[in-house]
């Protein structure tokens, strides 16, 4: 089975709140000083899913695609170190501030250029913007079925059986191949690269494709960003007094009722 995994490099979600800043005028996140970007945490799960499917299937190839700046190479190398076979970086100044639809268009073009994919896996969302729409966008463009938020994926004859995570339970669906599946954290812990694999990945070359290589013009943003700002969160703490625990509880209950919270 030939699988393509799309991975994204994002600002470290563990960045302390105090270091997270946005440039409201430029509508951009200012990269935090000294904090390196990381692989979107859902993406190694997509890679893990690809590796397990390839193992179970006993063959095929896993190609990793990332759209981003040159540093996104590290996200690809991580997937290669986990065991993926090949890497492609889509990098072009024209892609510097594109929206989700343009991203989907670029990824779709790259997926077609890689060619011959039975399955395309992605993380359920990118933890920076947390929109989770790119899988659907790519599916729309390529005319492929899309199954989102998977916690389990199994090859089933010519198709797949996918278990999805819902708010109140799980749902099992079947999908024909080729298909696009976005993988959720419930899929389970991704494997960690062994040192030998890290070294092998370091030696592999990552192909770099520009907009011209893909033969696409991203065009104007479909969903332009109107404003970017950090909301001000105000909170205050009130200590409920009372001589006994019972009295404190009573006073607390009265407060909550007065505030119409209970």
């Amino acid at each position: 089975m030939n699988i393509i995994v799309c991975v994204k490099q994002i600002p470290d979600p563990e960045t302390p709140a105090a270091s997270f800043k946005v440039d409201e005028a430029a509508k951009k996140v200012i990269p935090a000083q000294g904090i390196a970007p990381v692989v979107n945490p859902y993406d190694p799960q997509a890679t893990e899913a690809a590796l397990r499917l390839k193992d179970a299937d006993g063959g095929g190839k896993i190609t990793v695609i990332s759209l981003g700046p040159d540093t996104a190479r590290d996200a690809i190398k991580h997937a290669l170190a986990m065991g993926a076979d090949e890497g492609v970086l889509i990098s072009d100044p024209a892609f510097a501030s594109i929206d989700n639809f343009q991203t989907a268009a670029a990824l779709a073009a790259a997926i077609e250029k890689v060619g011959d994919a039975d399955l395309i896996l992605m993380g359920r969302a990118a933890a920076d913007w947390d929109m989770g729409v790119v899988p659907a966008g790519v599916g729309q463009i390529l005319g492929l079925p899309v199954v989102t938020v998977a916690k389990g994926i199994e090859k089933d004859g010519d198709g797949l059986t996918v278990t999805r995570v819902l708010d109140d339970g799980f749902q099992t669906v079947k999908a024909p191949l080729p298909a696009i599946v976005s993988v959720s954290n419930e899929f389970g812990e991704p494997r960690y690269p062994q040192l030998r694999q890290i070294m092998m990945a370091a030696k592999k070359t990552v192909q770099v494709w520009s907009a011209a290589d893909l033969g696409i013009d991203t065009g104007a943003s479909v969903m332009p960003l109107e404003a970017l700002y950090q909301p001000k969160v105000e909170s205050n703490v009130e200590i409920i007094e009372g001589d006994t625990p019972e009295e404190k509880a009573r006073n607390l209950a009265q407060k909550l009722r007065a505030a119409k919270l209970v």
Partner: protein
């Protein structure tokens, strides 16, 4: 000047952190209490290829530098595994260095691959009860007898000898009186630790109970000539070559432990409320922790610089020694401060601070004491008369 980690170093840190998450505090505390060697951990590290990080690729290693190995050991020690984890693999990482540099091809083929795969466990026999830091005074003798040597004598503190099947052994082959210089006449062997001729007695010690240290007694132990590394009589020079990277690794381990203690202290100081405010709001608590932060950062930079020098094939004696000194002091102080920040709980096993403290003291004492480091720096970096 580039202070950033390379992508491979980032992967090392991430990959090793992930392994270490499989060995939580409770694992190390249990092993500290039972004294059992952390086999599951060493197996995981061997399977991941981590033991060969600094070994040449043609023998199954990864051919990376001491800086990369230091990042590995820093991550291991920082996980909460402290020296129980670090010492369990430390010898595999730096120990075979003399074999790589001074061994012949046949020896490298014979010894390195099983060491890297974790199939061979070795220990390191330098220290002796009557010689101490004055290594030229070692008494263990290897006397040539045809195509073998016969070894008699005693080593002390030999770590992991209980598990080891091999020993990297320093022994006198020519009596000191017959040598021109005190460090001549010492040879280095890598050989079987043959229980038939060796007695091993574990030393009861303050911490790191999971990784044994021992008295080792040799009684007419035969050692084939093929197990001698390099030329006879040059063993001490061979040993010296591996000392600087070892200092760097010991430094990185001490810093890892100190940082872990510090981060636990800061988190406790944020949460623990006494006199109606978090204890961390008092400068009496804050300042020592902040000072430790600065000390650990400085020690790390020195460690990385020493590693960089070594990896560039540049002399790094005073730097590696200085890094070990600063790191051990900083690590020890951070643990001490973490303990007082936790108040009574710092002394409780449950919070692991006392364990980190007991273990970081090893990096302070061994493999070389602060006194000897300072004497060496005074001599080598400052041109003062040699005092030892």
């Amino acid at each position: 000047m580039d202070f950033a980690l390379t992508p491979i170093q980032e992967e090392i840190r991430a990959g090793v952190s992930q392994i270490m998450r499989g060995f939580p505090d409770s694992y190390w505390l249990e092993h500290d209490e039972s004294g059992e060697f952390p086999v599951e951990f060493t197996t995981a590290m061997a399977e991941g290829g981590w033991l060969g990080i600094a070994m040449p690729e043609q023998y199954g290693g990864s051919g990376l530098g001491v800086a990369d190995a230091a990042i590995l050991m820093h991550t291991v020690a920082k996980s909460g595994g402290a020296m129980s984890a670090a010492s369990a693999i430390h010898i595999n990482i730096f120990g075979p260095n003399p074999i790589v540099v001074f061994g012949n091809e046949e020896q490298r083929q014979r010894w390195l691959p099983p060491l890297i795969r974790g199939e061979t466990r070795t220990c390191f026999g330098v220290t002796e009860p009557t010689a101490g830091l004055d290594t030229s005074s070692i008494q263990t003798r290897a006397v040539r007898d045809g195509d073998q040597y016969i070894v008699n004598g005693q080593k002390i503190w030999t770590s992991t000898a209980q598990e080891a099947d091999k020993i990297l052994l320093l022994a006198r082959t020519t009596p000191r009186e017959q040598c021109e210089r005190p460090f001549d006449g010492i040879s280095l062997f890598f050989t079987n630790l043959d229980r038939e001729f060796v007695q091993i007695r574990e030393i009861q010690k303050m911490g790191r109970h999971a990784v044994d240290s021992n008295e080792v007694f040799f009684d007419n132990m035969p050692v084939p000539v093929e197990d001698r590394i390099g030329e006879e009589g040059k063993g001490f020079q061979y040993l010296l070559h591996g000392l600087n990277p070892e200092r760097v690794l010991v430094a990185s381990e001490a810093i890892g432990i100190g940082e872990e203690a510090l981060s636990r202290a800061a988190s406790y100081a944020r949460d623990r409320v006494v006199f109606g405010r978090p204890i961390g709001q008092n400068q009496g608590i804050q300042h020592p922790l902040a000072e430790s932060w600065a000390e650990l950062q400085a020690a790390w930079l020195m460690t990385m610089r020493a590693a960089w020098l070594y990896d560039q094939d540049l002399p790094c004696g005073p730097e590696a020694n200085g890094a070990k000194y600063l790191a051990a002091e900083a690590g020890k102080r951070a643990c001490e401060r973490a303990m007082i920040t936790h108040g009574g709980l710092g002394y409780a096993k449950e919070l692991h601070i006392e364990r980190l403290y007991r273990e970081v003291l090893i990096n302070w004492i061994a493999p070389v004491s602060p006194h000897l480091i300072l004497s060496n720096i005074a001599e080598k970096a400052l041109g003062l008369p040699k005092s030892y």
